[in-house]
């Protein structure tokens, strides 16, 4: 029972990671860029959601929606300002720019007139309820996270495989120039990808703030890194891979904290990443690309 409870805790963490990992993997799939600022968009999402259901007095779903809108706008703005000028420059330039944006968001949000540098304890918008199912305790927060993430995943699957914009995204991810020749507006498609990815990170941020009720401007670094690792673990650029990788990361972290030592959590998670990469250099679900000479 103890073990099963840990599995559920790991699932809760893994599902939140999945929401962040999706943004990383979609952006990587479409512009081959590690968007380091993504973890900080997650942080902004958490803060906006928190202000939404506390000081602005919005109902919880509306607070999530506000966070999604704000983060989408933020994500698209960052893409237009910092990444678009570098789209056809060496890849590393965009990566440095992404890192710069990440620092910018962190330090800007720590300014006193923005969010301030301190930790804030999140007052949940609803009481935490524990349900006892034959010895196993489940909270309403866990159920809520599960439902929200599954619904989001279904929406994403629909967007990518059943709509015109999804088709455009898939074509741009294969080849920018060919997609352009087929009449796809590449710039807009990339912006939409950033918007969707950021909206997902925003939902992840709000759920994270409710589940682990403490937020601060640098909170995005570690979850961002973990989620990114999860995306690489599953095979970056592949959507089911991101979810799979995130669920594995969630379990590994929770199990290490529960049965070994919470300080070794990160070390074990990254050791597994390195081992997986050595066996499958492009991730678990990654396709091995044959290099043409």
């Amino acid at each position: 029972m103890e073990f099963l409870a840990q599995v559920i805790n790991g699932l809760q963490l893994g599902l939140v990671y999945a929401l962040i990992a999706l943004g990383y993997t979609m952006v990587y799939g479409i512009v081959r860029l590690i968007n380091f600022a993504h973890g900080d968009i997650f942080m902004v999402g958490a803060f906006v959601g928190y202000f939404g259901f506390t000081s602005w007095g919005l109902p919880f779903p509306l607070a999530i929606l506000t966070a999604m809108v704000v983060c989408s706008i933020l994500g698209v703005t960052i893409e237009r300002v910092a990444y678009k000028p570098l789209r056809y420059a060496p890849k590393i330039a965009a990566l440095i720019s992404a890192f710069g944006m990440s620092l910018f968001l962190e330090y800007f949000c720590s300014l006193k007139f923005v969010f301030g540098p301190n930790f804030r304890v999140v007052k949940r918008p609803f009481e935490e309820i524990h349900w006892n199912l034959g010895g196993l305790t489940i909270t309403n927060i866990q159920v809520m996270i599960f439902i929200v993430v599954v619904v989001m995943l279904i929406i994403l699957q629909y967007l990518i495989f059943r709509t015109k914009i999804g088709m455009a995204m898939r074509s741009v991810s294969m080849d920018h120039n060919t997609a352009r020749l087929m009449g796809v507006n590449v710039d807009n498609t990339i912006s939409v990808t950033f918007a969707i990815g950021s909206a997902f990170a925003a939902v992840g941020g709000v759920l994270y703030a409710v589940a682990y009720p403490q937020i601060y401007p640098f909170m995005g670094i570690m979850p961002g890194l973990k989620a990114f690792t999860a995306a690489v673990l599953g095979g970056i650029g592949i959507i089911p891979g991101a979810v799979l990788g995130a669920l594995i990361m969630g379990q590994v972290e929770t199990m290490t904290s529960a049965y070994l030592s919470s300080q070794l959590r990160d070390a074990i998670a990254f050791s597994i990443l390195i081992l997986v990469l050595l066996i499958r250099p492009t991730g678990i679900l990654g396709r091995t690309e044959t290099e043409k000479v």
Binding site: R32, I34, A82, P85, L86, A89, P90, K91, I92, A93, I96, S97, F99, G100, M101, L103, F104, E106, Y107, F108, S110, L111, K112, P117, L225, F228, T229, V232, I236, Q263, L264, D266, A267, F270, S271, L273, I274, L277, L278, P281, T282, E291, V293
Partner: protein
């Protein structure tokens, strides 16, 4: 042995630079704080040259450079703290030990993971960096001297400007000579096209591991100097943000340009400290914001880096082609 004209120029320039800095110090135009910044900038230069070898010249994306910097710092620091007590030969031995240890670990980790390509290699090295940071945080459980998450102090502070300057100078020469040796050319060929290099008969694994080990050993050496210049070592000084510092120095300087790496490393350290000074107490919070903005704006304006792969002439050894050919011919005649 006859020194070439270029070697004389380099030696004279280094001597002039040394004398200028020394006389500025002697005239007390700079206070101890800025002297520390100056030493720091030279130390960072040594570490950044290591990454320049790995990424700039060999094209192997590493996001874990600070881990090797930290390993060197802790190794050298703990050796000198326990047994050296600041005796000069021991200090030199301890920083060599730091460099060797960093190089050895780079060999052990590099051999398997250098098979990975571009971003995947970056993430694997990032992961290694985080593992090392966790190990440093918990090091006191294995060996209390290392201090773990509370940090380690007590290393004798014997790294003077003279020592750091001489070592930095020697390391610049070392990297310059490596880059233009046949090994260095092999590395550059791998950066341009690994498959083509392989086809040309270059042992790519060997060249990549060699560059990685050498680069990481330089980071370890820089770490050893750091440990002897700053009395307090803490794991958070060697986390992945520090790795990014090295990376952005190499990228902003221009990949494949030693000149760029050296100039950017010195400027970057002075910029960071200068911002603290310019902003004053009231606006100190803006330091991070301005730093980030400078970073983004520079890279957007100069995506190929400030020096964009160009070198100062003195970093390109003049090869006396005619003389070499004559020598070669002589050898053929004699055999």
């Amino acid at each position: 042995m006859r020194l070439s004209r270029q070697s004389v120029v380099i030696l004279v320039l280094a001597a002039v630079l040394y004398v200028v800095i020394r006389s500025v110090e002697a005239a007390e135009l700079i206070n101890p704080y800025w002297r520390m910044v100056l030493d720091q900038s030279l130390i960072i230069t040594i570490g950044a040259l290591g990454l320049s070898l790995i990424y700039g010249f060999t094209g192997q994306f590493s996001l874990g450079h600070a881990a090797f910097y930290g390993l060197g710092a802790y190794t050298a620091g703990v050796i000198d703290k326990l047994w050296g007590h600041g005796i000069f030969p021991f200090f030199i031995l301890s920083i060599i030990a730091g460099a060797l240890f960093a190089g050895f670990l780079a060999f052990v980790i590099g051999l398997p993971i250098l098979r990975l390509r571009s971003d995947y290699l970056g993430i694997a090295t990032l992961g290694f960096g985080i593992i090392v940071k966790v190990a440093m945080d918990n090091s006191n459980k294995l060996w209390p001297v290392l201090g773990g998450a509370t940090g380690m102090s007590g290393t004798p502070q014997v790294a003077s400007f003279d020592v750091i300057f001489v070592i930095a100078f020697l390391m610049i020469l070392l990297v310059r000579n490596f880059v233009f040796s046949s090994y260095g050319r092999a590395c550059t060929a791998i950066r341009e096209d690994e498959i083509a290099a392989d086809v040309m008969g270059i042992d790519t694994t060997r060249a990549k591991v060699l560059a990685f080990v050498l680069g990481c050993a330089l980071a370890g050496l820089a770490g050893g100097l750091y440990a002897h210049r700053y009395p307090f070592l803490h794991p958070s000084s060697f986390d992945f943000l520090k790795s990014f510092d090295f990376l952005l120095i190499v990228v902003l300087g221009g990949l494949g340009s030693m000149t760029g790496t050296i100039v950017t490393a010195v400027c970057w350290v002075f910029l960071l400290e200068g911002l603290r000074f310019v902003l004053g107490q009231n606006f100190i919070d803006f330091r991070g914001v301005i730093y980030a903005l400078i970073l983004v704006i520079t890279i957007i304006l100069r995506p190929q880096g400030i020096f964009g792969g160009r070198e100062w002439k003195m970093f390109v050894p003049v090869i006396n082609v005619a003389g070499a050919r004559k020598e070669d011919a002589d050898r053929h005649v004699s055999t």
